[in-house]
């Protein structure tokens, strides 16, 4: 990798936060409410310890790893050249498919919420072209883009959630008793699943440069994401109730359809959806970047740029071939993608990192 394609710890954490907003809004609040009912607004808080534990473990595992070493390098050190490369190929294939799934989900959401007669094809193609251009560039550029967009995203989320306060009904949120503890934990599972996707970004840690003698500056992406998930679930549930919320795929955007910001501006959903499209685009570009980074390390080629177009093409094909309609896409979103993600992010990566640590490879 090029010496000048480096990012700071803070930039990488901002990239993680902005990217994970995309899958977060895909599953929330429906997945969580379906499991936890009216207590679902507590589920994001319940997901926090598990997310923090996974983050702490990965930080511990790569604590002594030398600078410039990413997850793929660590896997090759841990499992040996063959096992490590196999690990990389599996991840690259999974993330290529996952990129297609992300793009298709974003396209379907855009059509369901704002452009009912729009074209999925046009949206996906444009999305991949933009992501291709961005992913071909430097990691620093994408991270900087996320850094610039983060305040805008936080502002939009804050304004939207504050504007939703008058519609919140306490009856939809209470009571919650200790008997709901089990449900709250169930409801935390899909949120933890999304949070765990941060491990994919460990493939980019080879680009992180730590200033000598200084403590790395990080953005607490985990706290920000959990706060966003809490806000989205709390306000959606409080506005629609649990039984109505689970009947909708995009319940949060349903709530936004009703919003009047400060009582003067209405029909702001197009702006909010557009903001979320930005997170989809950042996430997709990051996935393509990660995939190309894996291929670069696996093949030993110096520059990763050559791997971006074929990865984007394959991912784009997956977006079209994954399903013919939104019905089966929901099935992918509800079951297959979370299961594979959970296996990859919560079992496979920590296992590989743990093996490397036990073998004192880093």
């Amino acid at each position: 990798m090029g010496k000048n394609d480096t990012v700071t710890e803070r930039q990488l954490t901002v990239l993680i936060f902005v990217s994970l907003l995309s899958p977060m809004i895909r599953i929330l609040p429906s997945s969580s409410v379906a499991l936890a009912g009216r207590a679902a607004w507590l589920s994001p808080l319940a997901a926090l310890p598990a997310g923090a534990a996974l983050a702490a473990f990965t930080r511990f595992a790569r604590k002594n790893a030398p600078e410039g070493v990413g997850l793929q390098d660590m896997a090759q050190l841990s499992l040996g050249p063959v096992g490590g490369r196999l690990f990389g190929v599996l991840f690259a294939l999974w993330l290529t498919f996952y990129g297609g799934f992300v793009a298709r989900s974003a396209a379907e959401r855009l059509l369901a919420t704002v452009y009912p007669n729009g074209s999925v094809t046009v949206f996906i193609v444009v999305m991949f072209l933009v992501a291709l251009i961005t992913a071909s560039g430097k990691t620093k550029t994408l991270s900087r883009t996320a850094e610039v967009l983060m305040p805008v995203l936080i502002l939009v989320i804050a304004v939207v959630l504050l504007s939703a306060i008058p519609d919140v009904t306490a009856e939809f949120l209470l009571p919650v008793t200790y008997r709901d503890a089990g449900k709250v934990l169930y409801g935390a599972a899909p949120i933890f699943n999304v949070l765990s996707a941060f491990v994919y970004f460990l493939f980019l840690t080879g680009h992180v440069r730590r200033p000598r003698g200084e403590r790395p500056r990080r953005v607490n992406w985990l706290a920000l994401l959990v706060a966003t998930a809490f806000g989205v679930t709390f306000f959606t549930l409080g506005t629609l109730g649990d039984k109505l919320s689970v009947t909708m795929e995009n319940a949060f955007f349903m709530v936004i359809r009703n919003l009047r910001v400060l009582g003067i501006v209405e029909r702001v959903e197009a702006v909010v959806v557009a903001v979320w499209v930005v997170t989809d685009f950042i996430f997709l570009a990051a996935i393509l970047m990660i995939v190309s980074e894996i291929w670069r390390t696996v093949t030993g080629v110096r520059r990763r740029g050559a791997f971006v177009p074929p990865s984007a093409a394959l991912s784009c094909a997956a977006a079209f071939l994954i399903t013919k309609n939104a019905f089966t896409l929901q099935a992918w979103s509800d079951f297959i993608v979370p299961c594979v993600n959970l296996f990859a992010a919560v079992i496979l990566v920590p296992a590989v990192m743990g093996i490397g640590k036990l073998r004192r490879k880093y």
Partner: protein
């Protein structure tokens, strides 16, 4: 050079966002503002083989209302095909404030109407839903519209004031859908057309009047509540704002504005934990807005008599609302949820068989009223005595006799 090419490629992609052509564009519903007809009210009625819709809206800077009609197999088809009519404009439903639904259509296909609003991204969940009794929604919309009185303005006026005079509440699609999902039933405001003398030529032929609540069930069905039951439901659902009430007294009468009515609902349990009864307590606060006859408000017994009468009226309203809900076996007053909220642990076993428990559950209602103020006039001017000349009365009052 490479950067320039990439930047140009990225910018060229932005062209697809413009929506200015019918070709490669993401924006499929781009409309020029001068071509837009903003629909504010939709009226839907059952037709022999489908649904008739009439929409009323305003275009551009014109203040006069314009109306269009269409018929389709479903509400979605009828509204969707409006674009095929020779409107000269694009009917846009994004600012629809209210949907009037004819009684027959509401009885059979209210769920379809709610579903359409939820599903169609152009419409808002906060669209008010009204059921039109004793006539069609289309006729009401036509009748309301006059040269100076667009139907949406008349309906918006009713929407603003209906709760203030205690005659009802405009439930929104969100509230109805949520109640249907939670309780399997919901309340909807009803209205009816009223033929009135036209006090000025530029108004419509009809007026709109509240006609109590209707109870809708998941899967279809419609029942209507009386005015008293409607008031009781408003009290228990905390949709009550204010109501003007005439209170007959032994000497004269009072007109009061009941500006506060707090309902407290508490479950009571037996020693073995079984749900024994529900107690409802109403606390009313009223202000005297006019006095007629010899009613002396400085006399405590007069005030107490007025308070007792007021309590009786509101208690009866709450009792009748609960009794009707139990008779129908439909918990549209949300008692299950309230009991659960009050005693989440204790009530859990009793609420397991709520459908069986609810119809026979004893409910006790008590009400307490307080006359708060008379707006500075304690001893009102006396009315003219029978046969007295108004001038003589004025002179008598001025002389203080």
């Amino acid at each position: 050079m490479k950067k320039t090419v990439l930047a140009a490629a990225a910018l060229s992609l932005a062209l697809s966002l413009g929506g200015c052509s019918s070709g490669l564009t993401i924006l499929s519903n781009y409309r020029r503002i001068e071509n837009i007809e903003l629909v504010r009210t939709v009226a839907a009625d059952k037709e022999a083989d489908g649904v008739n819709v009439a929409v009323c809206g305003t275009a551009g800077e014109e203040s006069s209302a314009r109306m269009y009609e269409n018929t389709g197999k479903s509400l979605g088809a009828a509204l969707g095909e409006l674009a095929l009519l020779p409107l000269g404009r694009d009917a846009v439903l994004s600012h629809t404030e209210n949907m009037l639904i004819g009684e027959e259509l509401a009885r059979e296909r209210l769920g379809e109407c709610l579903d359409y609003i939820e599903r169609f991204s152009e419409m808002r969940l906060d669209t008010g839903i009204l059921i039109v009794r004793d006539g069609t929604a289309r006729d009401l919309l036509h009748g309301l519209t006059g040269e100076d009185t667009p139907a949406p303005d008349v309906i918006a006026g009713l929407s603003r004031n209906i709760a203030r005079v205690g005659d009802g509440y405009f439930f929104t699609c969100r509230e109805i859908a949520s109640s249907l999902a939670d309780n399997g039933c919901a309340l909807v405001q009803c209205v009816r057309a009223q033929k009135e003398e036209k006090l000025f030529e530029a108004r419509g032929d009809l007026n709109i009047a509240p006609a109590g609540f209707a109870v809708v069930r998941e899967g279809g069905g419609l029942d209507f509540l009386s005015d008293e039951e409607t008031l009781g439901a408003m009290l228990l659902l905390r949709k009550y704002k204010s109501r003007i009430v005439d209170l007959p007294l032994p000497e004269g009468a009072l007109t009061v504005s009941v500006d506060s009515a707090a309902a407290s609902i508490r479950p009571r349990f037996e020693r073995d934990g079984a749900l024994d009864r529900v107690e409802i307590r109403l606390e009313l606060e009223a202000n005297v807005i006019s006095v007629s006859g010899e009613a002396d408000l400085e006399d405590r017994t007069v005030r107490e008599a007025a308070e007792a009468e007021l309590s009786r009226l509101f208690r009866r309203a709450a009792e009748s609302a609960v009794a009707r809900s139990q008779a129908l076996g439909l918990d549209y007053l949300d008692l299950e949820s309230i009991i659960h909220r009050r005693e989440p642990l204790k009530a859990a076993p009793a609420l397991k068989n709520w459908a069986d428990t609810f119809p026979g559950l004893p409910v006790e209602v008590e009400a307490e009223s307080t006359l708060q103020r008379t707006y500075d006039i304690v001893d009102p001017p006396e009315d003219a005595k029978e046969g007295e000349d108004p001038w003589e009365k004025m002179i008598r009052l001025l002389r203080g006799s």
